[in-house]
Protein backbone atom coordinates (compact mmCIF):
# COMPACT_ATOMS: atom_id res chain seq x y z
CA UNK A 1 0.00 0.00 0.00
CA UNK A 2 1.23 3.50 -0.78
CA UNK A 3 2.21 5.62 2.15
CA UNK A 4 3.73 9.09 2.33
CA UNK A 5 6.24 7.85 4.88
CA UNK A 6 9.27 5.65 4.27
CA UNK A 7 11.17 3.77 6.95
CA UNK A 8 14.78 2.78 7.37
CA UNK A 9 16.89 1.08 9.98
CA UNK A 10 20.07 2.95 10.74
CA UNK A 11 23.28 1.19 11.72
CA UNK A 12 23.53 0.81 15.47
CA UNK A 13 26.94 0.83 17.14
CA UNK A 14 27.53 -0.72 20.55
CA UNK A 15 29.32 2.56 21.31
CA UNK A 16 26.27 4.77 20.60
CA UNK A 17 25.63 6.83 23.72
CA UNK A 18 21.84 7.22 23.41
CA UNK A 19 19.31 4.37 23.42
CA UNK A 20 18.88 3.58 19.73
CA UNK A 21 15.93 4.63 17.59
CA UNK A 22 15.78 1.40 15.63
CA UNK A 23 13.51 2.65 12.88
CA UNK A 24 13.62 6.13 11.42
CA UNK A 25 11.24 7.65 8.91
CA UNK A 26 11.04 10.41 6.37
CA UNK A 27 8.24 12.05 4.49
CA UNK A 28 7.59 11.69 0.75
CA UNK A 29 4.63 14.04 0.15
CA UNK A 30 2.42 13.77 -2.96
CA UNK A 31 3.90 16.62 -5.02
CA UNK A 32 7.15 14.72 -5.45
CA UNK A 33 5.24 12.06 -7.45
CA UNK A 34 3.20 14.41 -9.65
CA UNK A 35 4.99 16.08 -12.56
CA UNK A 36 2.01 18.15 -13.62
CA UNK A 37 -1.35 18.12 -11.90
CA UNK A 38 -3.94 16.60 -14.25
CA UNK A 39 -7.19 18.46 -14.92
CA UNK A 40 -10.38 17.51 -13.14
CA UNK A 41 -8.93 15.95 -10.00
CA UNK A 42 -11.49 15.19 -7.29
CA UNK A 43 -12.04 18.06 -4.89
CA UNK A 44 -13.08 18.23 -1.27
CA UNK A 45 -16.85 18.44 -0.90
CA UNK A 46 -17.01 21.87 0.70
CA UNK A 47 -14.90 25.03 0.78
CA UNK A 48 -14.70 24.66 4.56
CA UNK A 49 -13.27 21.15 4.24
CA UNK A 50 -10.70 22.38 1.71
CA UNK A 51 -9.69 25.22 4.05
CA UNK A 52 -9.12 22.86 6.97
CA UNK A 53 -7.15 20.43 4.81
CA UNK A 54 -5.02 23.24 3.39
CA UNK A 55 -5.73 22.18 -0.20
CA UNK A 56 -8.65 21.87 -2.60
CA UNK A 57 -7.56 18.44 -3.83
CA UNK A 58 -7.31 15.27 -1.69
CA UNK A 59 -4.57 14.06 -4.07
CA UNK A 60 -2.32 16.83 -2.76
CA UNK A 61 -3.17 16.34 0.91
CA UNK A 62 -0.35 15.19 3.11
CA UNK A 63 -1.08 14.16 6.70
CA UNK A 64 1.36 15.04 9.45
CA UNK A 65 2.50 13.44 11.70
CA UNK A 66 2.54 10.01 10.08
CA UNK A 67 -1.00 8.75 10.72
CA UNK A 68 0.08 5.10 10.82
CA UNK A 69 3.03 5.24 13.12
CA UNK A 70 5.74 7.67 13.93
CA UNK A 71 8.68 5.58 12.81
CA UNK A 72 11.31 7.64 14.55
CA UNK A 73 9.95 7.07 18.02
CA UNK A 74 11.89 4.87 20.37
CA UNK A 75 10.73 1.29 19.66
Amino acid sequence: MFTQYKYWKPYISPLDPCPPMRVKSYNTPPQVYITFQPKGLDQYGTAREALYCGTLWPALFSPYPDPHKRGDQDE
Binding site: Q37, K39, A47, L51
Partner: protein, 87 residues
Protein backbone atom coordinates in the same frame (compact mmCIF):
# COMPACT_ATOMS: atom_id res chain seq x y z
CA UNK B 1 -13.19 49.52 25.58
CA UNK B 2 -13.53 47.47 22.42
CA UNK B 3 -16.74 45.73 21.53
CA UNK B 4 -16.90 41.99 22.14
CA UNK B 5 -17.45 40.02 19.00
CA UNK B 6 -20.53 37.79 18.74
CA UNK B 7 -20.16 34.17 17.59
CA UNK B 8 -21.65 35.26 14.28
CA UNK B 9 -18.46 37.22 13.55
CA UNK B 10 -16.39 34.06 13.71
CA UNK B 11 -18.90 32.02 11.70
CA UNK B 12 -19.19 34.54 8.91
CA UNK B 13 -15.45 35.16 8.86
CA UNK B 14 -14.79 31.42 8.61
CA UNK B 15 -17.20 31.15 5.71
CA UNK B 16 -15.34 33.97 3.92
CA UNK B 17 -11.98 32.38 4.71
CA UNK B 18 -13.21 29.09 3.21
CA UNK B 19 -14.49 30.62 -0.04
CA UNK B 20 -11.42 32.85 -0.38
CA UNK B 21 -9.22 29.83 0.20
CA UNK B 22 -10.82 28.04 -2.74
CA UNK B 23 -10.11 31.17 -4.78
CA UNK B 24 -6.43 31.16 -3.76
CA UNK B 25 -6.13 27.48 -4.70
CA UNK B 26 -7.86 27.92 -8.07
CA UNK B 27 -5.85 31.07 -8.81
CA UNK B 28 -2.54 29.26 -8.33
CA UNK B 29 -3.85 26.26 -10.28
CA UNK B 30 -5.04 28.39 -13.19
CA UNK B 31 -1.66 30.11 -13.39
CA UNK B 32 -0.29 26.78 -14.59
CA UNK B 33 -3.52 25.46 -16.21
CA UNK B 34 -4.86 28.55 -18.04
CA UNK B 35 -7.15 26.58 -20.38
CA UNK B 36 -9.11 24.62 -17.76
CA UNK B 37 -12.61 25.88 -18.54
CA UNK B 38 -14.33 24.13 -15.62
CA UNK B 39 -11.83 25.56 -13.13
CA UNK B 40 -12.38 29.08 -14.50
CA UNK B 41 -16.13 28.65 -14.17
CA UNK B 42 -15.69 27.45 -10.59
CA UNK B 43 -13.36 30.39 -9.93
CA UNK B 44 -15.90 32.92 -11.18
CA UNK B 45 -18.73 31.33 -9.19
CA UNK B 46 -16.61 31.61 -6.06
CA UNK B 47 -15.73 35.25 -6.84
CA UNK B 48 -19.47 35.99 -6.82
CA UNK B 49 -20.03 34.06 -3.59
CA UNK B 50 -17.10 35.83 -1.91
CA UNK B 51 -18.42 39.27 -2.85
CA UNK B 52 -21.87 38.41 -1.49
CA UNK B 53 -20.48 37.17 1.80
CA UNK B 54 -18.30 40.26 2.20
CA UNK B 55 -21.23 42.64 1.65
CA UNK B 56 -23.04 40.76 4.42
CA UNK B 57 -19.99 40.80 6.72
CA UNK B 58 -19.17 44.47 6.20
CA UNK B 59 -22.73 45.56 6.99
CA UNK B 60 -22.36 44.00 10.44
CA UNK B 61 -18.68 44.29 11.27
CA UNK B 62 -17.23 47.12 9.23
CA UNK B 63 -14.92 47.33 6.24
CA UNK B 64 -12.71 44.40 5.30
CA UNK B 65 -10.42 46.22 2.89
CA UNK B 66 -8.51 49.48 3.03
CA UNK B 67 -7.62 52.17 0.49
CA UNK B 68 -11.14 52.38 -0.90
CA UNK B 69 -11.75 48.73 -1.69
CA UNK B 70 -14.59 48.84 0.90
CA UNK B 71 -17.12 51.60 1.69
CA UNK B 72 -16.83 53.42 5.01
CA UNK B 73 -19.52 53.88 7.63
CA UNK B 74 -19.83 57.08 9.70
CA UNK B 75 -17.75 57.66 11.72
CA UNK B 76 -14.69 56.21 10.00
CA UNK B 77 -14.47 52.61 11.22
CA UNK B 78 -11.57 51.14 9.28
CA UNK B 79 -9.35 51.75 12.32
CA UNK B 80 -11.71 49.97 14.76
CA UNK B 81 -10.42 46.98 16.66
CA UNK B 82 -10.08 44.12 16.46
CA UNK B 83 -7.32 43.61 13.95
CA UNK B 84 -6.91 40.10 12.56
CA UNK B 85 -4.16 39.08 14.96
CA UNK B 86 -6.23 40.21 17.95
CA UNK B 87 -9.46 38.25 17.41
Amino acid sequence: MSKQLPPEYYQLLEEIQAVDFVLVELNHYLNTHPDDYDAIEQFNNNVKRSKELKVQFEKKFGPLMGFGRSYSNYPWDWDDTPWPWQV
